[in-house]
């Protein structure tokens, strides 16, 4: 299978082209359209991942669900079109002989069965429950489809870079990371509006998004009428 991406940078649409018998798993709300030769199954990924999904349901991912649908091609010429919730680009990261990829959960869109997406990844768990910082670990081989809010910039890291957590899309495993506050102290960090940052160190590939969904949500969300719960 392969992904074809159109309409970057603002209004990207990805079409998964599947050969007979091939399948792709995609974040549930991403489906735009599908050809008739496709069978659909809703699942929550392999067994033992319930904990994550329950967390996801509680809004851990900033409103994003993490239910995945599996689309399987039963005939030739099968396609599934996928789009992100917000405006922005999509990009394909090819997994192969290189390292695994750590993906900010809301940046993940889809991958074929040959890619294992580990939702139990413990790297950041329990660190900052208030921030919607939750990472998935994608390993195996094949294309992984990622989305961004805004454009996607690819950075070849060699050294150290500090990135606002809301702008991180994904980075290759092997890059060392730690969560830090942006300013000098916790209060300063809070007041500066920069919140938390990821301090990344080493060599690898890093994807960042040029807009921050949480910032956008707060900016627009407070202008809306209050909700009752």
């Amino acid at each position: 299978m392969h992904f074809e991406i159109q309409y970057n940078p603002a209004h990207s649409l990805a079409t998964a082209h599947l050969n007979v018998g091939e399948s792709v798993r995609a974040e549930a709300s991403a489906m735009v359209s599908l050809s008739s030769q496709v069978d659909v199954a809703t699942n929550t990924g392999p067994a033992g991942r319930g904990g994550f999904f329950q967390k996801a349901r509680r809004g851990f991912l900033g409103g994003e669900s993490f239910f995945q649908n599996t689309y399987r091609a039963r005939g030739p010429g099968a396609t599934v079109s996928l789009a992100p919730q917000l405006c922005g680009s999509m990009v394909v990261h090819e997994l192969g002989t290189g390292p695994s990829l750590l993906i900010q959960a809301s940046s993940y869109v889809a991958a074929p069965d040959s890619v294992d997406v580990d939702t139990q990844f413990q790297g950041f768990r329990g660190f900052l429950s208030g921030e919607s910082l939750f990472f998935l670990r994608a390993s195996g081989y094949g294309p992984v489809l990622l989305n961004a809010f805004g454009a996607i910039e690819t950075i070849d890291l060699d050294g150290e870079l500090i990135v606002d957590t809301g702008h991180v899309v994904a980075f290759t495993e092997g890059i060392e990371y730690s969560i830090d506050k942006a300013g000098g102290g916790w209060i300063q960090s809070f007041l500066s509006g920069e919140g938390f940052v990821l301090r990344l160190r080493g060599r690898g590939k890093l994807y960042i998004q040029t807009r921050n969904p949480t910032e956008f949500g707060h900016t627009v969300g407070v202008m809306l009428p209050a909700r009752s719960s």
């Binding site: 159109q6 649409l13 549930a28 659909v40 649908n69 005939g75 707060h218 969300g221």
Partner: protein, 230 residues
């Protein structure tokens, strides 16, 4: 004589420029006007009792009015835009030729004989649940319509094609469709998609790459929570 028009700033912020000569006119959705030359007269009317009623019911408080722009001079420019960011397209129809649009996609039309039929009942029942109803456009004339996101054409063949109802913009008359809950009950609750339309026949379906209800569900958790004490 065909009226001159251009769709500028496509695909992300499409912007319609029409040039009207003496006596020519264009009808546009209220709110679509961006700018106009001074010799264009604007007449506001409530078009179609049913359109008004249906819109009031489904779109909650949206204006019931449409504007007719009539030129009293040569080379008068009229600039129109839709509310959401995205693309725009013109569909020119011959006499009797039909085209179907979701109500929110309509921006404007030219051609005094063009008919916009909101009484098209085949769909309304299905779509009312998601706040969308269909317009049946009958030529001759040209209708301008807009998408949220890119406007993606899909050619439907004998095998059929399925589209999330929130992503449908319009379709040609050669295709028909049936709406169903996506992947059954479980799908309706857990898969994130509500309803889909299965298209069959031969013709083009226009799909938009973004969907307003996705934006709403993204923003919802960021709304303040009403205090119980107030």
């Amino acid at each position: 004589m065909v009226m001159k028009y251009d769709i500028l700033d496509s695909p992300d912020f499409a912007f319609l420029q029409l040039t009207l000569n003496q006596g020519e006119q264009c009808v546009a959705e209220s709110g679509a006007l961006v700018a106009q030359d001074s010799q264009i007269e604007v007449r506001t009317s409530m078009r179609g009792g049913l359109l008004g009623a249906a819109k009031r019911k489904l779109l909650g408080g949206e204006s019931l009015f449409q504007n007719t722009f009539i030129s009293h001079g040569a080379g008068q420019r009229l600039f129109l835009a839709s509310a959401a960011e995205g693309d725009m397209r013109a569909q020119t129809l011959k006499a009797g030729e039909e085209f179907f649009l979701t109500s929110g996609a309509y921006v404007a039309h030219i051609g005094n004989e063009l008919v916009i039929d909101t009484k098209f009942g085949g769909v309304r029942g299905f779509f009312s649940g998601v706040g969308v109803f269909m317009l049946r456009i009958v030529g001759p004339g040209t209708v301008f319509y807009a998408s949220y996101g890119a406007l993606h054409p899909v050619s439907v063949g004998a095998e059929g094609y399925t589209v999330d109802t929130g992503h449908i913009v319009g379709f040609e008359s050669g295709v028909s469709y049936r709406v169903r809950a996506f992947n059954g009950f479980k799908g309706l609750f857990f898969s994130g998609e509500g309803l889909v339309a299965d298209f069959s026949g031969h013709g083009t379906v226009y799909v938009q790459t973004r969907n307003a209800s996705s934006l709403v569900s993204f923003l919802h958790p960021f709304r303040r929570v009403k205090s119980n004490n107030s």
